[in-house]
Amino acid sequence: MSETGIGAAVRRVEDKRFLTGRGKYIDDIDQRGQLYAWMLRSPHAHARINGVDTATASQAPGVVAIFTGADMAADEVGGIPCAWQIHNKDGSPMHEPPHPPLAVDKVRHVGDQVAVVIAETKAQARDAAELIAVDYDVLPAAIDMDLALADNASLVHDDVPNNLCFDWEIGDKDATEAAFAKADHVVSIDIVNNRLIPNAMEPRAAIAQYEPSNGNYTLHTTTQNPHVIRLLMGAFVLQIPEHKLRIIAPDVGGGFGSKIFHYAEEAILTWASAKVPQPIKWTAERSESFITDAHGRDHETHAELAMDKGGNFLGLRVSTKANIGAYLSTFGAAVPTYLHGTLMAGVYTTPAIYCEVKTVFTNTVPVDAYRGAGRPECTYLLERLVTKAAREIGMDPVEIRQKNMIQPDQFPYQTPVALEYDVGNYPASLDTALQASDYAGFEKRRAESESNDKRRGIGISTYIEACGIAPSAVAGALGARAGLYESAQVRVHPTGSVTVYTGSHSHGQGHETTFAQLVSESFGIPIEQVEIKHGDTGEVQFGMGTYGSRSIAVGGPAILKACNKIIDKATKIVAHILEASESDIEFKDGKFTVSGTDREMAFAEVSLAAYVPHNYPIEELEPGLDENAFYDPLNFSYPAGCHICEVEIDPETGDVDITNFTAVDDVGRVINPMIVEGQVHGGLAQGIGQALLEGCVYDDSGQLLTGSYMDYTMPRADNLPNLNVGTQSVLGASNPLEVKGVGEVGAIGSPPAVINAILDALAPLGVDDISMPATSAKVWQAIQNA
């Protein structure tokens, strides 16, 4: 291992600029002649728009233009598209009602855009927006999913009966019924996966610019996938060809899924920038983020597990209602289906599985992927159910898992719900976590707590997830409307330094370091010789972006592939110059040598020869050392692991103290262990936040009651414990880097570990259920009610 190669805890290349205040986030950028946009948003969850009177506002100081939905409709601007098409049980496609960027006839959630005011300053735009008079007919709102599905419900979209977007299924229903028919025990559970608000610390922002002399548009936007935005907005909404539309996402301050999606503001600004035509900047205030960034989770599930006398799993039946909000967001339809139903085997050998999902339109913010996306929802129900099953049949929660786990010699393992797991060792992760958490010493600690009038509990979660969202053929068969490969360009400069252009996007993950380590390792050059470029469609050839823990698993191998092409070409150049056979050339530690001789060329000598081809095989090879690669894996990668949470609860106050949290994750090959640990820490904080603190609440009229940091409980430093994290990896089998992905494991595995621990602590008091977030008040109430 070189000092900056694969496996080294290299300190991050990007940190110096962030630590000195020299990061460049969108709001830090200004364009000459820039105007400012303010979005007028609906205060109602559901209302018909009779008219929008902008006459007074147009005369306000500094106002340059005001546009409404009617203006965009007159220009035949398209609707915001959904990238995934799901089919109903009967084979018919899901409902895809139109999603105009600015509302035309109706507003469908609090925060829906009604008009955009463009003025010389942000304050002027905001002041003018208050002078716009909108004539609304307020309609009853559909908020609760059961009420929204009822026959007399108010319809979010007039042509979608019962607000049912689609009714989907996966698995073998008959085989599952048969498994339940022969079961000795059936355990059932009803759970809610609480709705969350992603809350990347940087609010969304954009600057759109139109150049009238050549018709080119440039949009700076806070996105995780600039090329995807170019494709969706260019082709489907504004009909701007790709060579005329450049998307730039420079430093982006966190995403967690919420910055994947194509948002209306991007299209509104880009369209308006040609009308004005001057650059227009928009930066969301946090209050706007709460009511416009896509939310996450929000599932209600009934699940049943069939077992034989010995506690062996025979069958699993799952019925979920998933809230999709007012409109289909970019990946909204994929989350409760192919990122959820396909993981229902978990790490277990359950032979028969059936899962059905009803997805419901409501008058709330669209719901889409949030860190984990579907897999936390699946893991939470499985791990709650398995733990409950153990309790009901009187078996230890460790034993029931060990008994039903897929064993290391069973790979590749075909699940009953479409996926084929490539490789893993789930019992090993469980064993390591049991030791790391001193599971054996728990009863002693419990006794100590009880002697202090506290209640102590321990909870386990053994999870699996699917990462590296790619295999294009598989994704296509599952309804994806795009391929999901990744691309890389590796450009070696004449003196041997390297610029890499990657289609992945970093918004906290540290790609500028991790990806540079791949190149450092491949070429045997120090990391200082490598620069990673991302986030600009004008620079990077193409890319599908960063989400679903796909950057290292799909973007990484693309870089590796391009590096290998460079080495192949360089080998040919060396063979020519050193007058040797290609097969005799070896490349190691940055040097090409002719085997068995002392003839050698350094990497930089070869690159110079490629650009100064005085002595060069010009008839066979083009000059230059610059290669492109597209990589599309054959399968997902499957990180897995075991999370164990130990809590101490004060029954007088309901306060839950996490005394220890242990995470043992199998993420495949680790490129930078420091960054991998950091990713797990962050995921765990979001998972623990979901379990204990965070919950999005709407009232019956569709007003968001948790619309600020005063009301929505974000985890703070003093809410969280020190985190005991480690990796125990089986090298990945689905890509040449043998990596699996690490961005989401923390958020996926942890919530059931926390809740199982709380229920373990409270079981002696008769508490057998508690919902997330398990706040002190809720825990105290559960104790009182028991």
Partner: protein, 155 residues
């Protein structure tokens, strides 16, 4: 428009501003010091923390005119040329940041903690940080960084 004058990172500055201009707007929009960030509108997230006369303050919650004549320090003024301040260096060494958006506020806040408590305990660091939100790190490495930074500053 009234004129406001102050010292920012050791330099005297003066400008005409609308009376409603917040200190953070003055720093970012008038002085181009964009290292100080705005992450919320309820004075909760702490991305905007700067020092006013040596004490940490949320610059989104003060009008520029309120700090007339004051000595203001921002993240841009911490490093000595190319050499990071020991607290900045501790964050780099301990992976105390990911997306970097909350980082300037966290670092400025941490320095005010160390000013009043040179050798804080882990618990004291966690409690001190209640005015700073980070969504990336789970705070684990932020706490580690501040403890290491405090030690280095004693050193």
């Amino acid at each position: 428009m009234p004129t406001v004058s102050m010292t920012v990172n050791g330099k005297s500055v003066s400008a005409e501003v609308e009376p409603r201009t917040l200190l953070v707007q003055y720093l970012r929009e008038h002085l181009g010091l964009t290292g100080t960030h705005v992450g919320c509108d309820t004075s909760q997230c702490g991305a905007c923390v700067v020092h006013v006369n040596g004490e940490s303050a949320k610059s989104c919650t003060i009008l520029a005119m309120q700090v007339e004549g004051a000595d203001v320090a921002t993240i841009e003024g911490l490093a000595d040329g190319d050499t990071l301040h020991p607290m900045q260096e501790a964050f780099r060494e301990n992976h105390g940041l990911q997306c970097g958006f909350c980082t300037p506020g966290v670092v400025m806040s941490a320095l005010d903690l160390v000013r009043t408590n040179a050798d804080p305990s882990e618990r004291e660091v966690r409690e001190w940080l209640e005015g700073n939100l980070c969504r990336c790190t789970g705070y684990h490495n932020i706490v580690k960084s501040i403890l290491a930074g405090a030690k280095a500053m004693q050193g």
